[in-house]
Subunit: 341 residues, 2 copies
DNA sequence: CTGAAAGCGCTAACAC
DNA sequence: GTGTTAGCGCTTTCAG
């Protein structure tokens, strides 16, 4: 044990002594509880300020709320998640809640969820969770829970916030068809429980049918690994019936496809159009100029935080919130180049 | 309060009852404490397994360690941080410690640190903190603390892990000079307490002197905002004495400069060479082909976690660890194009 | 080797 | 309006 640990921290008792009131009075002031006079409040607040008191969250956790919520991401590399977090933070700013984040891949997600529960967090936001709806329902029974990007029908026991991914797929195909592309392939994610991805694929298929391109429907699913994406992209671009457009499930994959296509000597967008998803900050760079779907991560995060707090404060009924995507056209799909000035 | 909160969780008492031993015995088994028979241990572990018991971190926190450490990042958009986190996670995997993350800009950093202390985390790793050394020393007195990317001389009271940023600067200039560039400008960060950046600048200056390019030394400092970077890049590239090479303090800035340069009709690397820093995953894309400095984020994270745990377990003496950067050459600085196959 | 007992700092009834 | 009191689940002496 280090020497540091032995230092005594300022507790509610120190404040009470300093302000010359009972420690219960201090607790009430801190919690904004009912039944404290202004005089007392002022006096206590002065002492809190003077001593630099902050409540011990762990101790709070043993009796009631911690005012901490946990946010779990599947990885930290996708800049889209930063947008979601920005939305969550914005929503939390006006409340007394704080958030901490955790990063967990599929295999470690359950244990991270458990340890956040063990830390007595008041609620959880799961972003792009690959856990089953059943599992999440079980957790939802124990803790307020909101899932972003997990939209099976008829989910009960926890709230969800989602982009309308079917529309995403439709928008992309509609756009590409309008630009004159026909052989449109979707490069999708090979996931355990990819409900978001499934909807996106469904939208792609539906709109392809709609455009009379039934025979051109082609979906290739690969993992998140850069290596596998590269191999798949090369295979697709090297095949005799090469597509003339590729819709990638997320921007990062699209950027990799651009890279592979350029290495193969293909011109974008004349030989090949590429569309991504999430409209991350990299899309706008001239060297990428990537057409993408904007699903407003900030909105998703904002709504998730709102729903979670409602849950924590007592709502029982399940709610599902949907945001609507829009397409942002850039050069990678033959949209007339727009000046950045 | 939601209904969920009222559900009773499995406690040490339930386990004790099930295993028919005292609850103190269970505590000892869980903590791997000295003085429990194998028979008792087996019995208790069976009950723990059977009941699915996990210790309540908050309750633990009130008496001893939580086995949770907090990691604070300045933002979530730089993929370099993901590498650092990967290193930390790898180091923690073989221990009983877990980590949670927090994201804080300069103005919210102090309060996030405080709330992690309030949550009784056993230690803190600060990545790219912009807080003063004094402030961090104060915190270091209360909690084990390791800072990554904060290398003022003579720091006491907390450990640091750093890339040798002076060498970074030297490597870049040396490389560019070798490639025939002379008018090398550094696009740096305008930070409150940019000690990492200052070292990098120092290396740049030193090597410029060394190469007899004293008169070409030019450092431009801008904030992290995309808008400001853009404006600065345009100004630099539009000026009459445009540099023939730009060293950017981080890859993201370099990518933006590539974008602006292309929009301005400049060819890379013939009109302009660009070098980044951190060797993030985007450097390798054909459309960027960005020469960059690799400072091994994973190594930084690994060492930071190691030092932190040593501190938690009792080390008093301050330690500083340094890793050595290397340059990864790509097309943006005229290195012969390498095939990706 | 095992168990009993004393809190850690706080919240929330409840009593004054 | 304000103070008293009883725990929350656990770790950690200290007796047995």
């Amino acid at each position: 044990m280090t020497k540091q640990q032995k230092q005594k921290r300022i507790t509610i008792l120190d404040v009470a002594r300093d302000a010359d009131v009972s420690f219960a009075a201090v607790s009430k002031v801190v919690r904004n509880a009912y039944g404290v006079s202004d005089a007392l409040r002022t006096k206590v607040n002065a002492s809190i300020e003077k001593l630099g008191y902050t409540p011990n969250t762990a101790a709070r956790a043993m009796r009631g709320r911690t005012f901490v919520i946990g946010v779990i991401f599947p990885d930290m590399r996708n800049p889209f998640f930063a947008d979601i977090l920005a939305g969550i933070s914005a929503a939390l700013e006006r409340t007394s809640y704080q958030s901490v984040q955790g990063i967990a891949r599929h295999s470690t997600e359950a244990s991270l969820i458990q340890s956040m529960i063990d830390m007595q967090m008041d609620g959880l936001i799961l972003v792009g969770s690959t856990a089953s709806a059943d599992f999440l329902s079980t957790i939802g029974q124990k803790k307020p829970l909101v899932a972003i990007g997990h939209h099976l029908p008829d989910i009960k026991g926890f709230d969800t916030v989602n982009n309308d991914d079917e529309i995403s797929g439709r928008l992309v195909v509609g756009h590409l068809v309008a630009q004159g592309y026909r052989k449109i392939l979707m490069l999708s994610l090979d996931t355990e429980n990819g409900t978001v991805i499934e909807r996106r694929e469904a939208g792609y298929r539906a709109e392809m049918e709609n455009a009379g391109l039934h025979d051109e429907i082609r979906v290739v699913r690969v993992s998140q690994s850069l290596r596998e994406i590269q191999v798949a992209a090369k295979a697709i671009l090297g095949s005799p019936d090469r597509p003339d457009a590729i819709f990638c499930w997320t921007d990062f994959v699209a950027l990799e496809v651009i890279s592979v296509a350029q290495n193969a000597g293909l011109a974008i967008p004349s030989d090949l159009a590429i569309v991504g998803h999430d409209n991350t900050i990299y899309c706008d760079f001239r060297q990428n100029s990537l057409t993408s779907i904007d699903q407003s991560g900030e909105q998703l995060g904002l709504q998730a935080a709102r729903l979670l707090i409602e849950r924590i404060e007592g709502r029982q009924k399940t709610e599902h919130f949907t945001v609507h995507p829009r397409l942002v056209g850039r050069r990678s799909s033959a949209v007339a180049s727009k000046s950045h000035e």
